[in-house]
Subunit: 210 residues, 2 copies
């Protein structure tokens, strides 16, 4: 259960698809029981309903799916302690990238809000600083796709046009070669490619660029 | 490597102690090489140095320690997918509790800063709302101590006097019976009790209250 946007629900949807799990993507646009069921849980979305019981907190859900899924013969959330550390570390770095966005959702004036968001991606902007760190983190060869990669892919797409977050200039992430390379690598993984093949709108950015 | 405060370094120190790992708690007060070594890593603290290599991101470090540690015959970070989910979920809920604090660190005026923090803990304050959720989350029996419990214990202690964060009223967490019960349960776990036995100042709150 989540809104129709990508946001924090999208990595979960993508991981469920990669793991080959049948799931119902319930949102206010396709499910008239959404609001009542959401309120009955007393939790914030995203919520994963398993056997009628709600599971909350987006990264905890994502890692849970990773634990019960595999891709290319490896667990989608690594079991080796050091590999799992690097997966967790990547997710936490992505949270550092998106953290400066949070206060902008509280800005009432539309022009002011868009200006604040553009500033985050300007030279030396708060998000730019973290994106530069993420770009360096993604240097070198990628391993086997895991939930950390799916999270990084989804978080970076928040900043790419078209997105549901107003105010980001087009092409803002083009200057980060490793982030772009990582995007292409994730987008071209066969189950990711298949899941997004018939998607459009704000999910256009989840397809390969080339 | 971390500042002398508790903050995001303390759950790591506590987990290292519970896991029985020998470690050097390096901070600017006890290590004159701290600043140079920190800058050489290019990362934010806390940093765990293992065999001369830096590991960053506090929750990723904490879970890594949990994976290579055990307590009472069980892994300090659960390996069962559902138990691990509930551990992750608790940590993410604790991040929701502390998230509203972040903007207050940027308030220059001391009186204004303290007022903003007191407001977070007032009836219907942003932290109070999440603390009420956490209190409900901690209802019932506790299982075997894990890194999620250590994280919850440390995050809640940020709000207890004495703390390094100015502006919180004394006794602000007294109205949450399950949070208090959880505090006592963690504080009385033998390796936690032993680690804090000779600590004082802002670490007084890491000892049992009764």
């Amino acid at each position: 259960m989540y809104w129709g946007i990508t946001g924090l629900g999208e990595p979960i949807r993508c991981a469920l698809a990669v793991g080959g799990h049948a799931f119902k993507d319930s949102n206010p646009n396709n499910d008239e029981t959404f609001k009542a069921r959401k309120e009955a849980t007393g939790q914030q979305v995203p919520i994963l309903m398993v056997d009628g019981k709600p599971m909350g907190q987006s990264k905890a859900i994502l890692k849970y799916i990773g634990r019960i899924s595999s891709f290319d013969g490896k667990p989608l959330y690594p079991t080796d302690p050091l590999e799992a550390y690097w997966c967790d570390e990547l997710m936490e770095l992505c949270d550092d990238v998106r953290a400066p966005l949070a206060p902008t959702f509280g800005i009432a004036d539309q022009a002011e809000k868009e200006a604040a968001r553009a500033a985050l991606l300007a030279e030396d902007g708060k998000c730019s600083k973290m994106l530069a760190k993420l770009d360096k983190r993604l240097e070198g060869e990628f391993g086997t796709l895991n939930v950390g990669d799916i999270y990084a892919f989804s978080v970076c797409n928040l900043f790419r046009q078209p997105t549901f977050i107003d105010g980001f200039p087009a092409g803002a992430l083009d200057k980060y070669p490793n982030i772009t390379r990582h995007h292409e690598w994730v987008a071209k993984c066969p189950p990711v490619l298949a899941y997004y093949a018939d998607k459009d709108g704000i999910r256009t950015t989840f397809k390969p660029f080339s």
